[in-house]
């Protein structure tokens, strides 16, 4: 999953700007972002696996 999220996948735009992004620090940020990005899918999966909650929420919304 991390591979899906891994940020080296595609180039979006050149990094303009005068701020030094670091080298090891940028790579460390990419590792952290990949880990957090995986968590995003885990959360989505958990939400998908809990239909009961979703149904209750939907019903609540319908009543409104």
């Amino acid at each position: 999953m991390a591979a899906v999220v891994l940020l080296g996948a595609a180039t979006a735009r050149p990094a303009y700007g005068y701020t030094d992004p670091g080298s090891g620090l940028l790579l460390w940020q990419m590792v952290g972002a990949a880990a957090v990005g995986s968590l995003f899918y885990v959360k989505r999966l958990l939400r998908w696996l809990s239909p009961k909650k979703k149904t209750e929420k939907d019903e609540g919304q319908r009543e409104e």
């Binding site: 999220v5 940020l7 996948a9 180039t11 979006a12 700007g17 701020t19 620090l25 972002a33 957090v36």
Partner: protein
């Protein structure tokens, strides 16, 4: 805010951001916005994302000049000109207590979070974008908020945030390297390798240093960083995912900041001076308090006061309670940190700065003009200078004669000086003397002190201008210009 030198349009104060340049002209702070910075200026001024911060006074007051106003300011023909309300006493990270750097870091993260909520980003994260008005941190850089690529999950300024906020806090709290040392030599903060070195051979492998600097330092040597395209922007699956990642990264940085800020509170040689190590009998202290209060009461409300050697700020807080604006200086970062926390808790207009009056910081940065020296900023700025129980330190520890001290003080104040002289009979004086013969033979309090600048720090002998308590003598003097 940075200075680069005189130009036709005034004194240039900022040149690093290609989006615009900042200049000082006739006491006004003007920012010329280039084509690259126009969208940033719009986001800062008009987008609702920063409204919460603006309402609470944490963004510098900024307005866009009309064409006629820009013309009048000598900047006609420029695409866009902004005017900022100047901060009356600018200060810089090398002069802050670590608690103040932490507060500036919190504000920077708040701006980054607010920008993210609006789909924008913060392009730089440096403490030079923040200044203090009393205890309140104010964000200054109107061109820092920029449009963000919606799929990009990386915050380009994170490395800068780590190097200029987290690393100096870790160095101050855990390695004994103060902000003066850190920022005095490294304007952009230390590199990961340097912090790992300061942490030592064992601690560098333990939290917080392991993730903070040791692993990033090892990754600096990775072959990946040399690959083509490494520094280019990234895309992830969706905008929602990119935002999810950025929100959590910012939250993680905030947690780290709070953990490191918690480690800077300590004790120092002077942190007990006004408490358990107080040198005054209760009645002497009450008499001194009354004398200083009476002297401060002679000033108009809103007067500007400089408290030299303020320690925990007993008299700085007193002056602020009376409605004055105070700059408090002391060489000890621990006591200045505590004074900052107290002023912030009580919302009193006190700006504590870690400045050694015997060796104040000079101009720094490019051409030594990016930040002005302390004395240049302080000259003629104050209505009153408090020099309470500090003269004997300057004389005995630093070898500066009283005449020299008064000459300098006469340049800083426009009105009044309150001096507390501690003589050779005092136990504290003898402790500092260490068996030596006094350098100045206690001449300071005997006469008027004429300075080469033509100002005289005049001694007056009205009963209310002098107070003698034990071996100490307090005087309220006025400054006159020949």
């Amino acid at each position: 805010m940075k200075a680069s030198g005189k130009s036709e349009a005034g004194e240039a104060r900022g040149f690093r951001d290609p989006g615009g340049r900042l200049m000082e002209r006739g006491g006004r702070l003007l920012r010329v916005v280039g084509a690259e910075g126009r969208e940033c200026a719009r986001l800062f001024l008009e987008d609702g994302c920063l409204e919460g911060l603006r309402k609470t006074g944490r963004l510098v007051e900024t307005r866009r000049l009309t064409e006629a106003e820009a013309e009048e300011a000598g900047l006609g023909g420029e695409t866009e000109v902004l005017e900022h309300r100047p901060v009356w006493f600018p200060s810089y990270p090398a002069e802050w207590a670590p608690e103040m750097l932490a507060e500036a870091g919190r504000l920077t993260l708040e701006v980054a979070e607010a920008a993210l909520r609006a789909g924008a980003g913060l392009k730089d994260a440096t403490p030079y974008n923040v200044m203090y008005e009393g205890w309140r941190a104010v964000f200054l850089d109107a061109l820092s908020v920029e449009p963000r690529g919606g799929l990009d999950p990386l915050w380009r300024a994170e490395a800068q945030f780590r190097r200029t906020f987290l690393y100096p806090l870790a160095a101050a709290g855990r390695c004994g390297v103060g902000l003066k040392e850190t920022f005095g030599v490294r304007r952009e903060g230390p590199e990961p390798e340097e912090l790992a070195e300061w942490a030592g051979p064992v601690r560098r492998w333990l939290p917080p240093f392991l993730g903070l600097c040791t692993l990033p330092a090892m990754l600096n040597r990775s072959e990946r960083v040399a690959e083509e395209g490494f520094y280019e922007g990234r895309k992830c699956g969706s905008e929602e995912q990119a935002r999810f990642i950025l929100e959590r990264r910012l939250r993680g940085l905030r947690k780290q900041l709070e953990a490191l800020a918690g480690g800077v509170r300590g004790r120092s040689k002077w942190s007990g001076y006004q408490g358990e190590e107080c040198h005054y009998a209760a009645e002497d202290l009450a008499a001194k308090d009354a004398f200083v209060r009476e002297a401060l009461g002679r000033l108009k409300p809103g007067a500007r006061v400089l408290d030299v050697g303020a320690n925990l700020g007993r008299y700085s807080l007193m002056a602020a309670e009376m409605g004055h604006s105070v700059v408090a200086i002391d060489a000890d970062a621990v006591v200045m940190g505590r004074l900052y926390e107290e002023a912030k808790r009580r919302k009193l207009d006190v700006l504590p700065l870690v400045v050694d009056f015997a060796n104040p910081p000079g101009g720094t940065g490019w051409g030594n003009r990016e930040t002005k020296g302390f004395l240049e900023r302080a000259e003629g700025q104050f209505d009153c200078v408090l020099m309470l129980a500090v003269m004997h330190h300057l004389e005995l520890v630093n070898g500066v004669p009283a005449e020299e001290v008064m000459e300098l003080v006469g340049r800083l104040t426009r009105g009044m000086v309150v001096v507390e002289w501690v003589g050779p009979e005092d136990a504290q004086y003898r402790k500092l003397l260490r068996g030596r013969k006094p350098l100045c033979a206690d001449t300071g309090h005997r006469a008027d002190l004429r300075s080469p600048s033509g100002r005289t720090v005049t001694k007056r002998e009205a009963a209310s201008d002098v107070l003698c308590i034990s071996e100490r003598r307090l005087e309220c003097r006025s400054v006159q210009t020949d």
